[in-house]
Protein backbone atom coordinates (compact mmCIF):
# COMPACT_ATOMS: atom_id res chain seq x y z
CA UNK A 1 0.00 0.00 0.00
CA UNK A 2 1.45 3.39 -0.93
CA UNK A 3 1.70 5.82 1.92
CA UNK A 4 1.00 9.44 1.18
CA UNK A 5 3.84 10.97 3.11
CA UNK A 6 5.47 13.33 0.67
CA UNK A 7 4.49 14.86 -2.69
CA UNK A 8 6.93 12.56 -4.47
CA UNK A 9 5.40 9.39 -3.08
CA UNK A 10 1.98 10.85 -3.70
CA UNK A 11 2.79 11.20 -7.38
CA UNK A 12 4.03 7.64 -7.58
CA UNK A 13 0.86 6.65 -5.77
CA UNK A 14 -1.13 8.42 -8.48
CA UNK A 15 0.71 6.51 -11.14
CA UNK A 16 0.14 3.15 -9.53
CA UNK A 17 -3.48 4.17 -9.02
CA UNK A 18 -3.89 4.90 -12.70
CA UNK A 19 -2.15 1.71 -13.68
CA UNK A 20 -4.37 -0.24 -11.35
CA UNK A 21 -7.40 1.50 -12.82
CA UNK A 22 -6.35 0.56 -16.34
CA UNK A 23 -5.70 -3.04 -15.34
CA UNK A 24 -9.07 -3.37 -13.62
CA UNK A 25 -10.86 -1.70 -16.52
CA UNK A 26 -9.22 -4.15 -18.90
CA UNK A 27 -10.24 -7.09 -16.74
CA UNK A 28 -13.84 -5.92 -16.46
CA UNK A 29 -14.14 -5.19 -20.16
CA UNK A 30 -12.68 -8.62 -20.84
CA UNK A 31 -15.28 -10.15 -18.53
CA UNK A 32 -18.11 -8.19 -20.12
CA UNK A 33 -17.14 -9.29 -23.60
CA UNK A 34 -16.59 -12.89 -22.50
CA UNK A 35 -19.94 -12.98 -20.77
CA UNK A 36 -21.80 -11.30 -23.58
CA UNK A 37 -20.24 -13.04 -26.56
CA UNK A 38 -18.74 -16.28 -25.38
CA UNK A 39 -21.11 -17.65 -22.82
CA UNK A 40 -18.33 -19.80 -21.39
CA UNK A 41 -18.78 -18.07 -18.08
CA UNK A 42 -21.96 -20.06 -17.54
CA UNK A 43 -20.05 -22.52 -15.43
CA UNK A 44 -18.81 -19.72 -13.19
CA UNK A 45 -22.34 -18.36 -12.95
CA UNK A 46 -23.72 -21.74 -12.04
CA UNK A 47 -21.29 -22.04 -9.13
CA UNK A 48 -21.93 -18.46 -8.09
CA UNK A 49 -25.64 -19.20 -8.22
CA UNK A 50 -25.17 -21.71 -5.43
CA UNK A 51 -23.30 -19.12 -3.37
CA UNK A 52 -25.93 -16.44 -4.08
CA UNK A 53 -28.80 -18.67 -3.05
CA UNK A 54 -28.93 -17.52 0.59
CA UNK A 55 -28.69 -13.88 -0.54
CA UNK A 56 -31.61 -14.32 -2.92
CA UNK A 57 -33.53 -16.14 -0.25
CA UNK A 58 -32.94 -13.29 2.18
CA UNK A 59 -33.90 -10.67 -0.38
CA UNK A 60 -37.16 -12.47 -1.08
CA UNK A 61 -37.95 -12.75 2.61
CA UNK A 62 -39.65 -9.35 3.16
CA UNK A 63 -42.17 -9.88 0.41
CA UNK A 64 -42.86 -13.42 1.62
CA UNK A 65 -43.39 -12.14 5.15
CA UNK A 66 -45.60 -9.31 3.97
CA UNK A 67 -47.69 -11.76 2.01
CA UNK A 68 -48.13 -14.13 4.90
CA UNK A 69 -49.02 -11.26 7.22
CA UNK A 70 -51.56 -10.04 4.69
CA UNK A 71 -52.98 -13.51 4.35
CA UNK A 72 -53.19 -13.98 8.10
CA UNK A 73 -54.99 -10.69 8.43
CA UNK A 74 -57.84 -11.58 6.09
CA UNK A 75 -61.01 -11.88 8.04
CA UNK A 76 -63.12 -14.96 8.35
CA UNK A 77 -65.97 -13.54 6.30
CA UNK A 78 -63.62 -12.74 3.49
CA UNK A 79 -62.33 -16.28 3.57
CA UNK A 80 -65.77 -17.81 3.46
CA UNK A 81 -66.73 -15.48 0.65
CA UNK A 82 -63.60 -16.59 -1.18
CA UNK A 83 -64.44 -20.17 -0.50
CA UNK A 84 -67.92 -19.73 -1.90
CA UNK A 85 -66.65 -18.06 -5.03
CA UNK A 86 -63.97 -20.68 -5.57
CA UNK A 87 -66.50 -23.45 -5.18
CA UNK A 88 -68.63 -21.93 -7.90
CA UNK A 89 -65.62 -21.49 -10.12
CA UNK A 90 -64.60 -25.07 -9.54
CA UNK A 91 -68.04 -26.22 -10.57
CA UNK A 92 -67.90 -24.26 -13.78
CA UNK A 93 -64.36 -25.39 -14.45
CA UNK A 94 -65.27 -29.00 -13.89
CA UNK A 95 -68.18 -28.75 -16.25
CA UNK A 96 -65.90 -27.27 -18.85
CA UNK A 97 -63.37 -29.99 -18.16
CA UNK A 98 -65.93 -32.69 -18.82
CA UNK A 99 -66.61 -31.21 -22.22
CA UNK A 100 -62.91 -30.93 -22.92
CA UNK A 101 -62.42 -34.51 -21.93
CA UNK A 102 -64.91 -35.61 -24.52
CA UNK A 103 -63.10 -33.53 -27.08
CA UNK A 104 -59.76 -34.97 -25.97
CA UNK A 105 -61.02 -38.50 -26.32
CA UNK A 106 -62.36 -37.78 -29.72
CA UNK A 107 -59.03 -36.20 -30.59
CA UNK A 108 -57.03 -39.25 -29.49
CA UNK A 109 -59.41 -41.46 -31.39
CA UNK A 110 -59.01 -39.43 -34.54
CA UNK A 111 -55.25 -39.36 -34.11
CA UNK A 112 -55.23 -43.12 -33.80
CA UNK A 113 -57.28 -43.33 -36.96
CA UNK A 114 -54.76 -41.10 -38.69
CA UNK A 115 -51.91 -43.15 -37.32
CA UNK A 116 -50.14 -40.02 -36.19
CA UNK A 117 -48.13 -39.86 -33.02
CA UNK A 118 -50.17 -38.24 -30.27
CA UNK A 119 -48.69 -35.39 -28.36
CA UNK A 120 -47.17 -36.85 -25.22
CA UNK A 121 -48.78 -36.60 -21.84
CA UNK A 122 -47.48 -33.75 -19.77
CA UNK A 123 -46.44 -33.71 -16.19
CA UNK A 124 -46.21 -30.35 -14.49
CA UNK A 125 -44.61 -29.16 -11.32
CA UNK A 126 -45.60 -26.02 -9.49
CA UNK A 127 -42.70 -23.72 -8.67
CA UNK A 128 -42.97 -20.49 -6.67
CA UNK A 129 -41.19 -17.44 -8.01
CA UNK A 130 -38.60 -15.98 -5.69
CA UNK A 131 -39.73 -12.39 -5.54
CA UNK A 132 -36.57 -10.42 -6.24
CA UNK A 133 -35.73 -7.80 -8.82
CA UNK A 134 -32.80 -8.77 -10.99
CA UNK A 135 -31.15 -6.48 -13.52
CA UNK A 136 -34.03 -4.67 -15.29
CA UNK A 137 -32.38 -5.01 -18.69
CA UNK A 138 -32.19 -8.78 -18.52
CA UNK A 139 -35.38 -10.75 -18.64
CA UNK A 140 -34.87 -13.44 -16.04
CA UNK A 141 -36.72 -14.96 -13.13
CA UNK A 142 -35.47 -16.86 -10.12
CA UNK A 143 -37.56 -19.82 -8.96
CA UNK A 144 -37.66 -21.14 -5.43
CA UNK A 145 -37.15 -24.68 -6.68
CA UNK A 146 -33.93 -26.18 -7.94
CA UNK A 147 -32.20 -29.37 -8.87
CA UNK A 148 -33.10 -30.75 -5.46
CA UNK A 149 -36.74 -30.57 -6.52
CA UNK A 150 -36.06 -32.20 -9.85
CA UNK A 151 -35.75 -29.05 -11.93
CA UNK A 152 -33.38 -29.51 -14.80
CA UNK A 153 -31.84 -27.25 -17.38
CA UNK A 154 -33.88 -26.71 -20.53
CA UNK A 155 -37.26 -27.33 -18.95
CA UNK A 156 -40.12 -25.34 -20.36
CA UNK A 157 -41.80 -22.92 -17.98
CA UNK A 158 -45.47 -22.00 -18.48
CA UNK A 159 -48.16 -20.15 -16.59
CA UNK A 160 -51.91 -19.96 -16.93
CA UNK A 161 -51.61 -17.90 -20.10
CA UNK A 162 -48.88 -19.65 -22.01
CA UNK A 163 -45.16 -20.14 -22.34
CA UNK A 164 -43.03 -18.11 -19.94
CA UNK A 165 -39.56 -19.29 -20.89
CA UNK A 166 -37.06 -21.98 -20.13
CA UNK A 167 -34.77 -22.96 -17.28
CA UNK A 168 -31.18 -22.02 -18.03
CA UNK A 169 -29.47 -22.60 -14.72
CA UNK A 170 -30.13 -24.75 -11.73
CA UNK A 171 -28.72 -24.73 -8.23
CA UNK A 172 -29.87 -27.06 -5.44
CA UNK A 173 -32.56 -24.66 -4.19
CA UNK A 174 -33.06 -22.18 -6.99
CA UNK A 175 -33.33 -22.11 -10.75
CA UNK A 176 -32.95 -19.23 -13.18
CA UNK A 177 -35.49 -18.89 -15.98
CA UNK A 178 -34.73 -17.12 -19.22
CA UNK A 179 -37.95 -15.38 -20.24
CA UNK A 180 -39.31 -15.44 -23.77
CA UNK A 181 -38.75 -11.71 -23.91
CA UNK A 182 -35.00 -11.80 -23.20
CA UNK A 183 -32.84 -10.46 -25.96
CA UNK A 184 -31.08 -13.83 -26.21
CA UNK A 185 -34.25 -15.83 -26.53
CA UNK A 186 -35.96 -17.22 -29.59
CA UNK A 187 -38.90 -19.57 -29.77
CA UNK A 188 -40.15 -21.47 -32.84
CA UNK A 189 -43.83 -20.66 -33.27
CA UNK A 190 -46.68 -21.47 -35.57
CA UNK A 191 -49.69 -19.37 -36.47
CA UNK A 192 -52.54 -21.31 -34.92
CA UNK A 193 -54.98 -20.37 -37.67
CA UNK A 194 -52.92 -21.28 -40.72
CA UNK A 195 -49.96 -23.31 -39.52
CA UNK A 196 -47.36 -20.87 -40.91
CA UNK A 197 -44.12 -21.47 -39.05
CA UNK A 198 -42.05 -18.56 -37.74
CA UNK A 199 -39.58 -17.72 -35.02
CA UNK A 200 -40.36 -15.16 -32.30
CA UNK A 201 -37.46 -13.30 -30.72
CA UNK A 202 -37.31 -11.51 -27.41
CA UNK A 203 -36.31 -7.88 -27.51
CA UNK A 204 -35.54 -7.16 -23.88
CA UNK A 205 -38.91 -5.66 -23.02
CA UNK A 206 -41.43 -7.55 -20.97
CA UNK A 207 -44.44 -6.55 -23.04
CA UNK A 208 -43.51 -7.51 -26.58
CA UNK A 209 -41.80 -10.09 -28.78
CA UNK A 210 -40.46 -9.48 -32.28
CA UNK A 211 -41.46 -11.60 -35.22
CA UNK A 212 -39.01 -10.84 -38.01
CA UNK A 213 -38.78 -12.25 -41.53
CA UNK A 214 -42.44 -12.92 -42.13
CA UNK A 215 -42.76 -13.52 -45.87
CA UNK A 216 -45.04 -11.00 -47.56
CA UNK A 217 -46.95 -13.77 -49.23
CA UNK A 218 -47.65 -15.77 -46.10
CA UNK A 219 -51.07 -15.78 -44.56
CA UNK A 220 -50.38 -13.91 -41.33
CA UNK A 221 -52.66 -11.22 -39.95
CA UNK A 222 -52.82 -8.92 -36.99
CA UNK A 223 -54.73 -10.71 -34.24
CA UNK A 224 -53.42 -14.16 -35.12
CA UNK A 225 -52.61 -16.38 -32.20
CA UNK A 226 -49.16 -17.94 -32.06
CA UNK A 227 -48.46 -21.30 -30.48
CA UNK A 228 -45.18 -23.16 -30.07
CA UNK A 229 -44.48 -25.28 -33.12
CA UNK A 230 -42.31 -27.85 -31.35
CA UNK A 231 -39.58 -27.50 -33.96
CA UNK A 232 -36.12 -27.68 -32.50
CA UNK A 233 -37.34 -29.92 -29.73
CA UNK A 234 -36.85 -27.40 -26.93
CA UNK A 235 -40.48 -26.47 -26.44
CA UNK A 236 -43.30 -28.96 -26.80
CA UNK A 237 -45.82 -28.05 -29.49
CA UNK A 238 -49.12 -26.31 -28.98
CA UNK A 239 -48.58 -23.91 -26.10
CA UNK A 240 -49.81 -20.34 -26.58
CA UNK A 241 -47.01 -17.82 -27.05
CA UNK A 242 -48.89 -14.63 -27.86
CA UNK A 243 -51.01 -12.61 -30.23
CA UNK A 244 -49.76 -10.56 -33.16
CA UNK A 245 -50.49 -6.92 -32.45
CA UNK A 246 -48.83 -5.25 -35.42
CA UNK A 247 -47.28 -6.10 -38.79
CA UNK A 248 -45.12 -3.72 -40.74
CA UNK A 249 -42.71 -4.05 -43.66
CA UNK A 250 -39.06 -4.26 -42.60
CA UNK A 251 -36.18 -2.18 -43.98
CA UNK A 252 -35.72 -4.35 -47.02
CA UNK A 253 -39.44 -4.24 -47.85
CA UNK A 254 -39.17 -7.94 -48.70
CA UNK A 255 -40.47 -9.20 -45.38
CA UNK A 256 -42.82 -8.14 -42.66
CA UNK A 257 -41.88 -7.61 -39.03
CA UNK A 258 -44.50 -8.46 -36.46
CA UNK A 259 -44.93 -7.41 -32.88
CA UNK A 260 -46.30 -10.01 -30.51
CA UNK A 261 -48.07 -9.53 -27.21
CA UNK A 262 -46.98 -12.43 -24.96
CA UNK A 263 -49.75 -14.69 -23.72
CA UNK A 264 -48.11 -15.38 -20.37
CA UNK A 265 -48.10 -12.83 -17.57
CA UNK A 266 -44.39 -12.21 -17.60
CA UNK A 267 -44.13 -9.09 -15.51
CA UNK A 268 -45.12 -10.47 -12.17
CA UNK A 269 -46.86 -13.58 -10.99
CA UNK A 270 -46.43 -15.77 -7.99
CA UNK A 271 -46.01 -19.25 -9.33
CA UNK A 272 -45.18 -20.88 -12.59
CA UNK A 273 -45.47 -24.41 -13.87
CA UNK A 274 -42.52 -26.44 -15.00
CA UNK A 275 -43.19 -28.98 -17.71
CA UNK A 276 -41.72 -32.41 -17.46
CA UNK A 277 -42.26 -34.43 -20.53
CA UNK A 278 -43.42 -37.97 -20.01
CA UNK A 279 -43.32 -40.88 -22.31
CA UNK A 280 -46.25 -40.54 -24.70
CA UNK A 281 -49.00 -41.92 -22.53
CA UNK A 282 -52.09 -39.83 -23.12
CA UNK A 283 -54.18 -41.69 -20.59
CA UNK A 284 -52.16 -40.60 -17.57
CA UNK A 285 -53.75 -37.55 -15.95
CA UNK A 286 -51.26 -34.82 -15.29
CA UNK A 287 -50.20 -34.71 -11.69
CA UNK A 288 -49.65 -31.43 -9.96
CA UNK A 289 -47.29 -31.80 -7.08
CA UNK A 290 -46.47 -28.66 -5.24
CA UNK A 291 -42.87 -28.86 -4.14
CA UNK A 292 -42.20 -27.89 -0.57
CA UNK A 293 -44.23 -24.90 0.59
CA UNK A 294 -46.36 -23.80 -2.30
CA UNK A 295 -48.57 -20.94 -1.25
CA UNK A 296 -52.17 -21.92 -0.91
CA UNK A 297 -53.50 -18.67 -2.26
CA UNK A 298 -51.58 -19.02 -5.47
CA UNK A 299 -53.28 -22.29 -6.16
CA UNK A 300 -56.47 -20.78 -7.42
CA UNK A 301 -54.89 -19.95 -10.71
CA UNK A 302 -53.26 -23.25 -11.26
CA UNK A 303 -56.09 -25.51 -12.43
CA UNK A 304 -56.73 -23.15 -15.31
CA UNK A 305 -53.09 -23.44 -16.28
CA UNK A 306 -53.13 -27.20 -16.36
CA UNK A 307 -56.32 -27.06 -18.29
CA UNK A 308 -54.90 -24.87 -20.93
CA UNK A 309 -51.71 -26.83 -20.99
CA UNK A 310 -52.98 -30.30 -21.42
CA UNK A 311 -56.26 -29.76 -23.12
CA UNK A 312 -56.35 -32.15 -25.96
CA UNK A 313 -53.26 -33.93 -24.80
CA UNK A 314 -54.48 -35.95 -21.89
CA UNK A 315 -57.90 -36.43 -20.42
CA UNK A 316 -58.25 -35.56 -16.79
CA UNK A 317 -60.42 -37.00 -14.08
CA UNK A 318 -64.10 -36.54 -14.69
CA UNK A 319 -65.85 -34.48 -12.03
Amino acid sequence: MPSFASPATQRSGDVTGTLRLLALLAVSIGLIVADHRGGWLDQVRAHAGVAMQPVWWLAGLPSRLARSVREDAVTRSLLSEDNHRLRNELLVANARLARLQAAAEENTHLRQLLGAAGSGGLDVQLAPILDIDLDPTRQRLVLRAGSRDGVSQGQTVIDAGGVVGQVIQTAPGTAVVLLLTDLDHAVPVMVARTGVRLVAFGQGRSDALRLPNVPLSSDVRVGDELVTSGLGGRFPAGFPVGTITALAPDDSRAFLVGSVDPAARLDRGRDVLLLRELAPAPVVPPAVDAPRSAEGAGAEEEPAGIDAASAGASPEDAP
Partner: protein, 160 residues
Protein backbone atom coordinates in the same frame (compact mmCIF):
# COMPACT_ATOMS: atom_id res chain seq x y z
CA UNK B 1 -5.52 2.73 14.78
CA UNK B 2 -9.12 3.74 15.04
CA UNK B 3 -10.26 2.02 11.86
CA UNK B 4 -9.07 -1.47 12.61
CA UNK B 5 -11.82 -2.59 14.93
CA UNK B 6 -14.72 -2.19 12.51
CA UNK B 7 -14.44 -5.64 10.98
CA UNK B 8 -18.11 -6.48 10.87
CA UNK B 9 -19.47 -3.16 9.58
CA UNK B 10 -17.87 -3.59 6.15
CA UNK B 11 -19.26 -7.01 5.16
CA UNK B 12 -22.64 -6.28 6.73
CA UNK B 13 -22.99 -2.96 4.92
CA UNK B 14 -22.14 -4.58 1.59
CA UNK B 15 -24.57 -7.43 2.20
CA UNK B 16 -27.35 -5.03 3.16
CA UNK B 17 -26.65 -2.90 0.09
CA UNK B 18 -26.93 -5.94 -2.18
CA UNK B 19 -30.11 -7.08 -0.46
CA UNK B 20 -31.64 -3.62 -0.84
CA UNK B 21 -30.79 -3.83 -4.51
CA UNK B 22 -32.66 -7.12 -4.85
CA UNK B 23 -35.72 -6.49 -2.69
CA UNK B 24 -38.76 -6.24 -4.93
CA UNK B 25 -40.26 -2.79 -5.25
CA UNK B 26 -43.59 -1.76 -6.75
CA UNK B 27 -43.26 -1.22 -10.48
CA UNK B 28 -43.65 2.55 -10.06
CA UNK B 29 -40.79 2.88 -7.60
CA UNK B 30 -38.43 0.49 -9.33
CA UNK B 31 -36.66 3.09 -11.48
CA UNK B 32 -36.06 5.23 -8.40
CA UNK B 33 -34.20 2.47 -6.58
CA UNK B 34 -30.94 4.09 -5.51
CA UNK B 35 -27.70 2.33 -6.29
CA UNK B 36 -27.16 1.34 -2.65
CA UNK B 37 -23.98 -0.54 -3.33
CA UNK B 38 -22.39 2.52 -4.92
CA UNK B 39 -23.25 4.59 -1.86
CA UNK B 40 -21.70 2.03 0.46
CA UNK B 41 -18.61 1.56 -1.68
CA UNK B 42 -18.25 5.35 -1.92
CA UNK B 43 -18.41 5.61 1.84
CA UNK B 44 -15.68 3.05 2.34
CA UNK B 45 -13.44 4.44 -0.35
CA UNK B 46 -13.71 7.92 1.18
CA UNK B 47 -13.35 6.84 4.79
CA UNK B 48 -10.94 3.95 4.62
CA UNK B 49 -8.75 4.84 1.70
CA UNK B 50 -5.70 3.06 3.01
CA UNK B 51 -7.18 -0.40 2.92
CA UNK B 52 -9.99 -0.09 0.43
CA UNK B 53 -9.57 1.21 -3.06
CA UNK B 54 -10.04 0.18 -6.64
CA UNK B 55 -9.62 -3.54 -6.07
CA UNK B 56 -12.26 -3.42 -3.35
CA UNK B 57 -14.70 -1.57 -5.63
CA UNK B 58 -13.97 -3.99 -8.45
CA UNK B 59 -14.60 -7.08 -6.35
CA UNK B 60 -17.79 -5.67 -4.86
CA UNK B 61 -18.99 -4.94 -8.39
CA UNK B 62 -18.23 -8.49 -9.44
CA UNK B 63 -20.14 -9.80 -6.46
CA UNK B 64 -23.08 -7.59 -7.36
CA UNK B 65 -22.98 -8.78 -10.97
CA UNK B 66 -23.35 -12.33 -9.76
CA UNK B 67 -26.13 -11.40 -7.35
CA UNK B 68 -28.14 -9.24 -9.75
CA UNK B 69 -27.62 -11.41 -12.82
CA UNK B 70 -26.32 -8.46 -14.79
CA UNK B 71 -23.60 -8.82 -17.39
CA UNK B 72 -20.54 -10.09 -15.56
CA UNK B 73 -18.08 -7.22 -15.18
CA UNK B 74 -20.52 -4.39 -15.83
CA UNK B 75 -20.96 -3.25 -12.24
CA UNK B 76 -17.31 -4.03 -11.56
CA UNK B 77 -16.42 -1.55 -14.29
CA UNK B 78 -18.88 1.05 -13.04
CA UNK B 79 -17.75 0.86 -9.44
CA UNK B 80 -14.08 0.88 -10.38
CA UNK B 81 -14.55 4.07 -12.36
CA UNK B 82 -16.45 5.62 -9.48
CA UNK B 83 -13.82 4.63 -6.92
CA UNK B 84 -11.06 6.05 -9.09
CA UNK B 85 -12.74 9.44 -9.34
CA UNK B 86 -13.48 9.36 -5.62
CA UNK B 87 -9.86 8.63 -4.79
CA UNK B 88 -8.73 11.58 -6.87
CA UNK B 89 -11.04 14.01 -5.12
CA UNK B 90 -11.06 12.33 -1.76
CA UNK B 91 -9.13 14.99 0.10
CA UNK B 92 -11.49 17.74 -1.06
CA UNK B 93 -14.60 15.62 -0.58
CA UNK B 94 -13.82 14.84 3.03
CA UNK B 95 -13.92 18.49 3.97
CA UNK B 96 -17.03 19.36 2.02
CA UNK B 97 -20.16 20.10 4.04
CA UNK B 98 -22.69 17.29 3.84
CA UNK B 99 -24.93 18.97 1.25
CA UNK B 100 -22.04 19.58 -1.10
CA UNK B 101 -20.80 16.04 -0.60
CA UNK B 102 -24.25 14.75 -1.49
CA UNK B 103 -24.21 16.81 -4.67
CA UNK B 104 -20.85 15.36 -5.62
CA UNK B 105 -22.16 11.85 -4.99
CA UNK B 106 -25.17 12.66 -7.12
CA UNK B 107 -22.84 13.69 -9.91
CA UNK B 108 -20.89 10.46 -9.55
CA UNK B 109 -24.05 8.39 -9.65
CA UNK B 110 -25.14 10.25 -12.76
CA UNK B 111 -21.76 9.53 -14.31
CA UNK B 112 -22.30 5.90 -13.33
CA UNK B 113 -25.53 5.85 -15.33
CA UNK B 114 -23.63 7.26 -18.31
CA UNK B 115 -21.00 4.51 -18.00
CA UNK B 116 -23.71 1.89 -17.76
CA UNK B 117 -25.51 3.32 -20.79
CA UNK B 118 -22.23 3.30 -22.71
CA UNK B 119 -21.62 -0.36 -21.86
CA UNK B 120 -25.13 -1.24 -22.99
CA UNK B 121 -24.72 0.77 -26.15
CA UNK B 122 -21.41 -0.93 -26.96
CA UNK B 123 -22.92 -4.36 -26.48
CA UNK B 124 -26.18 -3.58 -28.25
CA UNK B 125 -28.14 -4.51 -25.14
CA UNK B 126 -31.49 -2.89 -24.42
CA UNK B 127 -31.17 0.41 -22.57
CA UNK B 128 -33.05 0.91 -19.34
CA UNK B 129 -36.11 3.22 -19.60
CA UNK B 130 -35.39 6.92 -19.14
CA UNK B 131 -37.03 6.96 -15.72
CA UNK B 132 -33.99 5.08 -14.40
CA UNK B 133 -32.02 8.27 -14.85
CA UNK B 134 -33.87 9.60 -11.81
CA UNK B 135 -32.16 7.06 -9.55
CA UNK B 136 -29.08 9.28 -8.99
CA UNK B 137 -31.37 11.87 -7.41
CA UNK B 138 -32.63 9.28 -4.93
CA UNK B 139 -29.05 8.24 -4.26
CA UNK B 140 -28.05 11.85 -3.70
CA UNK B 141 -30.83 12.40 -1.18
CA UNK B 142 -29.88 9.22 0.63
CA UNK B 143 -26.18 9.99 0.86
CA UNK B 144 -26.45 11.94 4.12
CA UNK B 145 -28.49 9.27 5.99
CA UNK B 146 -26.24 6.48 4.70
CA UNK B 147 -23.13 8.40 5.70
CA UNK B 148 -24.45 9.19 9.17
CA UNK B 149 -25.66 5.65 9.85
CA UNK B 150 -22.40 4.12 8.74
CA UNK B 151 -20.41 6.61 10.78
CA UNK B 152 -22.57 5.97 13.82
CA UNK B 153 -22.04 2.23 13.52
CA UNK B 154 -18.30 2.62 13.31
CA UNK B 155 -18.20 5.23 16.04
CA UNK B 156 -20.07 3.03 18.48
CA UNK B 157 -17.75 0.19 17.69
CA UNK B 158 -14.76 2.41 18.25
CA UNK B 159 -16.00 3.64 21.61
CA UNK B 160 -16.31 0.17 23.05
Amino acid sequence: MRRVANGWVLPVSVLVAILLGLVPLPEMLQPLRPYWLALVVAYWVIEDNERLGLVFAFSMGLLADLAFGSILGEQALRLTVMAFILQRFRTQLRFFPMAQQALAIGGLLFNDRVVSAAVHLALGVEQVPWTYWLAPVAGMLLWAPVYLVMDALRFRRRGR
